[in-house]
């Protein structure tokens, strides 16, 4: 638990990650149910990707969230905040009990991510289209400092309709930011309906390729594919990588899956119980976080990367 090993992620395998992701989904539904509002659909679609990042890929120190050499994750699709809060709590950035405060006055958990309120949140988001630019700035700073930390930005597919995303995409290639990985949670739905009907973003692979990115397409619920893509992205010299992750909005809760109306609505009463049952919860919505203990134990660093860090030690804490 001490020294450099505490600075790196628990090196969880795919099966363990699936178990964590199941807890994350229970947290998501539990906290949104308690709050009475929030965005379950896009939180559930992102749960596996976030779990892989926070329990395998990102190098972090939950005891020192400002550790200068940490990897940075930016949730550009800020409405998936419940998913981010769930992995941060499970990872030990703050007590799991804090999840009960989501969206309440006085809570550290704002309706959308606020880097000033919540330990581990790296960017304030919620107005779509801005996170990739922020990530470009972070990655450019790492390059200036010749630092080894990496930057990961998660966007929604509907979010790609924002023009600023493409300004940022252009600049990341121009500035040769190979320390930047974008992940698009392609759940295919936005508030007003299917992305392809509201405003088509096709052909997505061609668009990113034309902008000069290295493009990987995966199943965003398959842990093996997710881990493989994130590791591949780290080894692409000279240009950034985007992972287009096909996902299911509302994944894990049958009546929410592929339903646009569950973009920004909280389940209540029987629906809430049914959702939690579907996710294998033993406790009710009044006890989010009790449906499984945090694994806690940190492990050694990622393959091939742990030795490449600058030896700055355990941060400023």
């Amino acid at each position: 638990m001490s020294g450099t090993t505490s600075l790196t992620g628990p090196r969880a395998g795919p099966e363990e990650l699936r178990q964590v992701a199941a807890r994350v989904r229970r947290h998501i539904i539990g906290m949104i149910g308690l709050a009475g509002s929030g965005h379950p659909g896009g939180s559930l679609s992102a749960a596996d990707l976030l779990t892989a990042l926070y329990f395998r890929v990102l190098r972090l120190n939950p005891a020192d969230p400002a550790w200068p050499e940490r990897d940075r994750f930016v949730l550009s699709k800020g409405h998936a905040a419940p998913a981010l809060y769930a992995v941060l709590a499970e990872r030990g950035f703050f007590p799991v009990e804090e999840l009960r405060g989501l969206r309440r006055l006085g809570s550290i958990l704002q309706g959308h991510p606020d880097m000033k309120s919540t330990p581990g949140v790296e960017a304030s988001t919620g107005s779509l289209g801005q996170g990739l630019s922020f990530g470009v700035g972070l990655a450019a700073a790492a390059k200036l400092d010749r630092a080894a930390w990496r930057v990961y930005v998660m966007l929604g597919d509907g979010e790609l309709q924002e023009g600023q995303v493409w300004e940022a995409a252009m600049s990341a290639v121009h500035f040769k930011l190979d320390n930047l990985t974008a992940i698009v949670d392609c759940n295919g739905l936005q508030i007003d309906g299917p992305v392809e009907e509201v405003m088509s973003i096709s052909p997505l692979v061609d668009k990113w390729r034309a902008f000069g990115w290295n493009v990987l397409s995966i199943d965003g619920h398959d842990m093996v594919q997710i881990l493989d893509a994130l590791e591949t992205a780290d080894r692409q010299p000279g240009r950034p990588t985007v992972i287009l992750a096909r996902t299911v909005k509302g994944r894990g809760v049958g009546f929410m899956e592929n339903r646009a109306e569950w973009h920004g609505k909280a389940p209540s009463g029987e629906q809430l119980e049914e959702a939690l049952r579907a996710l294998g919860a033993s406790g009710g919505p009044e006890s989010p976080g009790t449906a499984g203990a945090a694994p806690g134990g940190p492990g050694p660093g990622r393959d091939g990367r742990s030795g490449t860090r600058k030896g700055k030690g355990g941060g400023r804490g």
């Binding site: 801005q130 990530g135 972070l138 700073a141 200036l144 600023q164 600049s171 500035f175």
Partner: protein
């Protein structure tokens, strides 16, 4: 004013000072959106190309990148014309800079009517209103070149975000080189007991001229350089309002929402005295020479003197 009054554009002072502080502080980085020759950031780019980021014509992305750089410990100066920042990128400033209070310094040039021939599309007359209403954002309007240099240094020392409003046209130099500058502290350039002329930017010199003509008529006007629009120097405002009992505000900006609005809001709740606002009367600019435009829009010593007489006449018997 002496006949051989030295003139200098505040944008020139900005560009030169950036190079100076760039030498002293390796964390200074500069961004521009294809206007570096006009904003004078090209001077910095020439000396420190690795710390200069040209985003092309993509202001939203520029602000987002600046925010990311600031989050990673850099001190970014982001420059474009004042019509584009804050106007075009208002949500990016609000979400990515002001809300998380990141230390981005937005140095916008070509503010106000004195842009001249380019006309209304390029004449920002509402930028101060937009900037002032954002929490956490410090708003500075230097009166001349030496004050601009000092304000740039003050912005570097200030940890939070700053909006620095600069002009295109050469303006009379009021202060000696090496002027000291404190954010939120006003300079009383001239004492007077009958009326206080509270001015910013190019209107400071115009108010000094107005005070001379008023003195010839026996009206003794104080002249205050209100170079920080936010935070207001409440102490100095209260002192001059109490001493004179009548206030005129003067700015190269709409009479709505800028210095006039801020002073009126403050004094109406603390020391209600007549406040007469000189500025652009709720309309867009147009093409013309800067001096012609100032005359046409009533930003002249004569207009200020008229406003001063009106303010004096409104004093309670």
């Amino acid at each position: 004013m002496a006949a051989e009054t030295r003139r200098m554009a505040t944008r020139d002072a900005y560009g030169e000072e950036l190079v100076e502080i760039g030498r002293e502080n390796p964390d200074i980085v500069v961004l521009d959106a294809d206007l570096s020759g006009s904003t004078k950031t090209s001077l910095f780019a020439r000396v420190f190309p690795e710390r200069f980021f040209n985003t092309g014509i993509a202001e939203a992305n520029m602000i987002g990148i600046a925010a990311g750089l600031a989050a990673a410990g850099k001190i970014p100066f982001a420059s474009t014309f004042a019509v584009f920042a804050p106007g075009r990128v208002y949500d990016q400033i609000r979400m990515s800079v002001a809300y998380p209070a990141l230390g981005v310094k937005i140095a916008a040039t070509h503010a106000g009517l004195t842009v001249g021939e380019d006309g209304a599309s390029h004449q920002a007359l509402e930028d101060l209103a937009l900037a002032r209403v954002l929490p956490n954002l410090t708003v500075i309007v230097p009166a001349d070149g030496p004050e601009t240099r000092a304000a740039v240094r003050a912005a570097v020392a200030h940890p939070g975000p700053v909006y620095l409003r600069l002009g295109r046209a050469p303006v009379p130099v009021i202060y000696p080189d090496g002027r000291s500058f404190t954010i939120g502290r006003y300079d009383v350039l001239k004492e007077g007991r009958d009326v206080a002329l509270v001015a910013s930017g190019i209107m400071v010199d115009i108010c000094l001229q107005a005070a001379l003509s008023l003195a010839a008529d026996g009206v003794l006007a104080a002249v205050v350089n209100a170079s920080t629009l936010k935070p207001l120097d409440e102490e100095t405002l209260l002192a001059v309002a109490a001493r004179t009992g009548a206030v005129v505000t003067a700015e190269e900006h709409s009479v709505i929402g800028g210095l006039g609005g801020a002073v009126a809001e403050f004094l109406s709740g603390t020391l209600p005295v007549p406040v007469v606002r000189v500025g652009v009367a709720d309309r867009f600019g147009r093409s013309g020479r800067p001096d012609e435009l100032l005359e046409a829009y009533g930003l002249t010593p004569r207009a200020v003197a008229d406003a001063a007489r009106k303010a004096v006449s409104l004093k309670r018997a």
